[in-house]
Each structure stands twice: as C-alpha cells, then as structure tokens.
C-alpha cells in the first residue's frame, strides 16, 4: 500500500536556525496537510495545500512558517527562525478527494523536531 514518507525522522536544531521538514505524499493525491503534536498535547492542524497554494492555515501558521511543493513529489514545511516552542512532532498528510472531501487523510510517521 502506498505510504506518505517523511524525512528526517528526528531533527535537532539550534534556536533561531531555519529548518526544513520534508514529505513525499502519495503520488496521486492532491490535498496536502501539515499537523503538529507538542508532547502530551493534541494533534493540531497547521496548514492545507491544494493546487499549488495554501487553502487554509491555522493561527499557529504565522510568518515564520511556509510550505512549498518544489517539484511533483515533495511537500516541505519551512520554519524560518525556530523557537523553543516549535519543538514538536510534525506530521504530513495527504488525501485524494474523489468527488468530495470525504476521503481519509493518510499520515506519515512524523518528524520529531527538537529545538535547543
């Protein structure tokens, strides 16, 4: 079964540094998402992406965050200047809306981001 893959599995970065989290969604999917889960808290929506543009973003997704689909396969989340509170597990997800948005999202295994 096709999978969503995320790299790296664990990223350690100094505060203030830029970080790029990478995702390869399932190949025929059209909607892409980033979520994050701070340790001990619920999974939170960050951003959705469709047709090469952001379709929705949460309050968390401020100017420090950006997403990009640089080619036909990768979907990236960039944090420009990391803060301690950005430490979390970041999940990428994708889905294929066959006639509607009722298809489940497929998740990657996540990237654990640790900011020092």
């Amino acid at each position: 079964e096709p999978e969503v893959t995320q790299t790296p599995s664990h990223q350690v970065t100094q505060m203030g540094q830029e970080v790029i989290l990478r995702c390869v969604p399932i190949s025929n999917h059209l909607y892409f998402y980033w979520y994050r889960q701070i340790l001990g808290q619920k999974v939170e929506f960050l951003v959705s992406f469709y047709n090469n543009e952001i379709s929705e973003k949460s309050e968390i997704f401020d100017d420090q965050f950006s997403v990009e689909r640089p080619d036909g396969s990768n979907f990236t989340l960039k944090i420009r200047s990391t803060k301690l509170e950005d430490s979390a597990m970041y999940f990428c997800a994708s889905t294929w809306p066959r006639g509607g948005l009722d298809q489940p999202q497929h998740f990657g295994d996540g990237t654990r981001l640790s900011i020092l």
């Binding site: 999974v43 929705e56 999940f91 809306p97 497929h106 998740f107 996540g110």
Partner: protein
C-alpha cells in the same frame, strides 16, 4: 467553531475485556467523523470513518463506532481487546464544506494488560 472532546485520557483494561473509548464533538455544521490510532513511534492510521448512512460503522482490527447525532457522540468500541491494541486513539472531525482539515481530540491512551 468545532471541537472534539475525548473524555478519558487513559483507559487501562485487561486482555479479552471489552472497551469503549468516548468521543463527543461540537459543531454547528455537518461533519465527517474519524478515529485514528497511533502506535508508538508511528504515524496516525485510520481505524474507521463515518460519512453518512448507517450510524454503526466497522473498522479495522475489530473496532466499531456508533454515531449518535442527538448526543453528538462517536464512541469507539471493541468487544475483546488484545495486547496489540495498546496505543493512543484519536477522534477527529472534518467539515464537509471545507478543505478537509482534521480537528482532533486530546487522545485516549489505551493500555491492555495481560
């Protein structure tokens, strides 16, 4: 705004016992409902979903859930659990009319003991 509440943060049960994980949601518009499972060091895997139709939905690994519109609940059940069911379970909703973002509950840690 939509919200999801999972009433139990931890549920310890013995192997072969039945289990129910509770989920309530709040929304002024129609939603789709999902249960996801997260095994240690893994991503979220879909257990089951409710879109429309029959209120009792069956998922993978012997789990089922019942949608109750009047009580705005979507409780997850399994008649007999295994050690391998030990995991974190998340209830989630998405709006039918928007871009499909999922709103998650806080999660319930199911711990199955021998």
């Amino acid at each position: 705004a939509q919200s999801v509440t999972q009433l139990d943060s931890q549920v310890p049960v013995f192997e072969e016992a039945p289990v129910e994980l509770r989920c309530n949601y709040s929304s002024s518009v129609s939603v789709y409902l999902f249960w996801y499972v997260q095994y240690p060091n893994q991503g979220l895997q879909l257990l089951l979903k409710y879109l429309s139709g029959s209120t009792l939905v069956k998922g993978i690994n012997g789990f089922e859930a019942e949608f109750n519109k009047s009580q705005t609940s979507f409780h997850l059940r399994k008649p007999s659990v295994h050690i391998s069911d030990t995991a974190e379970y998340f209830c989630a909703v998405s709006l039918i009319t928007q871009g499909g973002k999922l709103i998650f509950g806080q999660g319930t840690e199911l711990s199955v003991k021998p």
